[in-house]
């Protein structure tokens, strides 16, 4: 350091004294991060609530109210047959069958694929395909030349109905690529019979009409607009869904950071008080190595000792499966481990491990972009799970052999409640 540096440093020291003695507050930073996310969600909810209130007003005062009531996602005329929309080409059906045969978890044999919307973008033909998987509606976007297609995006229809919207955005993060080049970003979803127009609004306020057909819609835009970081102004923020009576309903889209816990349980439908505190809980059949589910040759990373490894179908109405294992990991801890097994994904999926002593083990990821899958294990003392939505609707979450899986909308908060055998609340989790 030169004399000049030293003189300057000493002089600047006098201008802005040190903060060394002032303690920090990391919890405050965490709190601010949560509050800001909560405010964002509230703003979205206010928009949705205002639109809902307006729609209710229309229902009460016009003869077209019945049309609005029909505008929910239990009214999907094009999905009534064995395959929705028009028949997919033999090549598309064959490609689907081949991908299905290569994956560990499979859609039911004979699943028929239909073509919902077709369009040409940047010289390439794209087809939005649809099919049913038990109680779920599945969409898959196929390009003639683009590559790296994700597997199908499936959403339980009962959940779409619970949300009470005339349309649902299933995916807004599907970036179509050719080599390393991002050709387009796709926004697609399903729409009720009563929907006559869907527009996609971007962060900058622009609105673009989506192509609508066969109870589905598709919007393609150039480049990667899947996240505010890649395009802060062009990223889609909501769909504006117009029903036959002219009522426009905003449907929120979440493309940013996954919001995480943002809403206080007391300010949300469903129980808000934990009635019994569990001091950890085990999964006895995994601990004992009982032969539940089907055998599974463990692919989920090294274990020092592997007690058991089985594959379970947590929701009988969905083809998703989860391999679960118990054992001692290489660091010496007892752990429960999972492998996520998706249809149309070649081989087996990623895996994760958790310490084997918790009430509800959460795993997230996969599923439809706007309806991510939550899956994991619950301890023996958890008898049931229930999912609550902002509008007060709620549904039971299937639990099979302590394994659960459900999808929750990414754009609005939901609350998961765990009960014991006496239906006492043992856990509340804002998602």
């Amino acid at each position: 350091m030169t004399d000049h540096d030293l003189v300057l440093r000493n002089a600047l020291d006098e201008l802005v004294p040190s903060f060394e003695s002032l303690p920090g507050d990391w919890q405050d930073a965490l709190h601010r991060a949560r509050v800001r996310m909560r405010r964002r969600m509230r703003r979205r909810l206010v928009v949705v609530a205002a639109a809902a209130a307006f729609a209710v007003g229309v229902l009460a005062t016009t003869s077209l109210g019945q049309d609005v009531l029909n505008g929910t996602l239990d009214r999907l005329g094009s999905w009534a047959g064995s395959a929705p929309g028009e028949s997919a080409s033999p090549e598309q059906q064959a490609a689907f069958d081949a991908a299905n045969a290569e994956s560990y978890a499979r859609f039911a044999p004979g699943t028929k694929v239909g073509r919902l919307v077709s369009t040409t973008f940047a010289g390439e033909k794209y087809d939005l395909l649809g099919f049913r998987d038990g109680g779920s509606l599945c969409l898959r976007l196929i390009g003639a030349k683009s590559d790296g297609r994700p597997p199908a995006a499936c959403v339980p229809q009962r959940e779409l109905i619970d949300l009470g919207q005339p349309a649902a955005v299933v995916s807004a993060g599907d970036v179509l690529t050719r080599g390393s080049e991002a050709i387009a970003t796709a926004v697609y979803g399903v729409a009720a019979d009563a929907v006559r127009r869907v527009e996609i609004a971007t962060a900058s306020g622009e609105r673009h009409e989506a192509q609508l057909g066969n109870n589905a819609f598709l919007y393609l835009t150039a480049g990667n607009r899947s996240h505010p970081e890649t395009d802060p102004t062009g990223v889609p923020v909501r769909a504006i869904v117009e029903s036959q009576n002219g009522v426009a309903t905003p449907v929120p889209i979440e493309t940013g950071v996954a919001p995480g816990p943002t809403t206080a349980p007391t300010a949300f439908p469903g129980p808000s008080v934990v009635e019994r505190t569990l001091d950890g809980s085990r999964v006895s059949w995994l601990d004992h190595g009982d032969p539940r589910g089907d055998p599974y040759a463990w692919t989920g990373g090294a274990m020092r000792t592997l007690k058991t490894s089985r594959v379970v179908q947590p929701d009988p109405t969905s083809s998703f499966r989860m391999a679960v294992a118990s054992g001692t990991s290489t660091d010496g801890y007892e752990r429960y481990c999972f492998v996520w097994l998706w249809p149309l994904v070649k081989g087996t999926g990623s895996y994760g491990c958790m310490l084997a002593d918790v009430t509800v083990i959460f795993g997230t990821g996969g599923g439809a972009d706007q309806f991510p899958l939550f899956s994991g294990l619950v301890g023996d003392e958890v008898a049931s799970l229930e999912l609550f939505f902002p509008n007060g609707a709620h549904e039971n979450v299937p639990v099979t052999d302590n394994v659960y899986a459900f999808q929750a909308p990414r754009a609005v908060p939901t609350k998961l409640v765990a009960y014991d055998a006496q239906h006492r609340v043992v856990g509340i989790y804002m998602l």
């Binding site: 000049h4 002089a11 600047l12 201008l15 903060f19 002032l22 930073a29 965490l30 601010r32």
Partner: protein, 160 residues
């Protein structure tokens, strides 16, 4: 890629005084500087998954802190006009050396001020400053030299 909460907390705890000091130099107020740093880290927490790892995490955090402080900055404290008025008075013996340095720093172009603050209040080397401000290391050196030259006359008086 993304940054973990643990990494962010570690950076917060290890470099907080430096973050606050640079923020204070920018916003001109200790309390608002602390607030700006807290807000910057709240932003980092919210956006941690979007940290792409193309540069050091520390540089990304510095950018957030500097940007947050700049958004909350008011005219260099005390208000420049007031100091200049007092500077005129100083010829009659009214302005002390510290105020005079403050005036000189306040008159520097913004980039020179930021480079100066990161160099002397955060002890960052040229490469780290370049990463934080997304400029070339050579630009850091040139900018710092320019700031030194501009402050030279004032410093001579401060040093006396």
């Amino acid at each position: 890629m993304g940054a973990s909460l643990d990494e962010l907390e570690a950076a917060y705890r290890s470099s907080l005084p430096n973050f606050r000091r640079v923020a204070a130099a920018i916003v001109g107020d200790r309390e608002r500087a602390c607030d700006a740093v807290q807000e910057a880290f709240a932003k980092a927490i919210r956006k941690r998954r979007s940290f792409r790892g193309s540069g050091p995490l520390e540089a990304w955090l510095w950018r957030l802190v500097v940007n947050e402080a700049r958004d909350n900055a008011r005219p260099f404290e005390p208000p420049l006009e007031e100091l200049l008025e007092r500077g005129e008075a100083r010829t009659n013996g009214g302005l002390d050396a510290r105020d005079e340095l403050r005036v000189a720093v306040g008159l520097l172009p913004e980039r020179q001020r930021l480079v100066l603050f990161l160099r002397y209040y955060a002890d960052l080397d040229y490469a780290a400053i370049a990463d934080a401000l997304e400029i070339a290391p050579g630009t850091v050196a040139a900018t710092l030299n320019a700031a030194h030259a501009a402050l030279h006359r004032t410093l001579q008086e401060v040093a006396r």
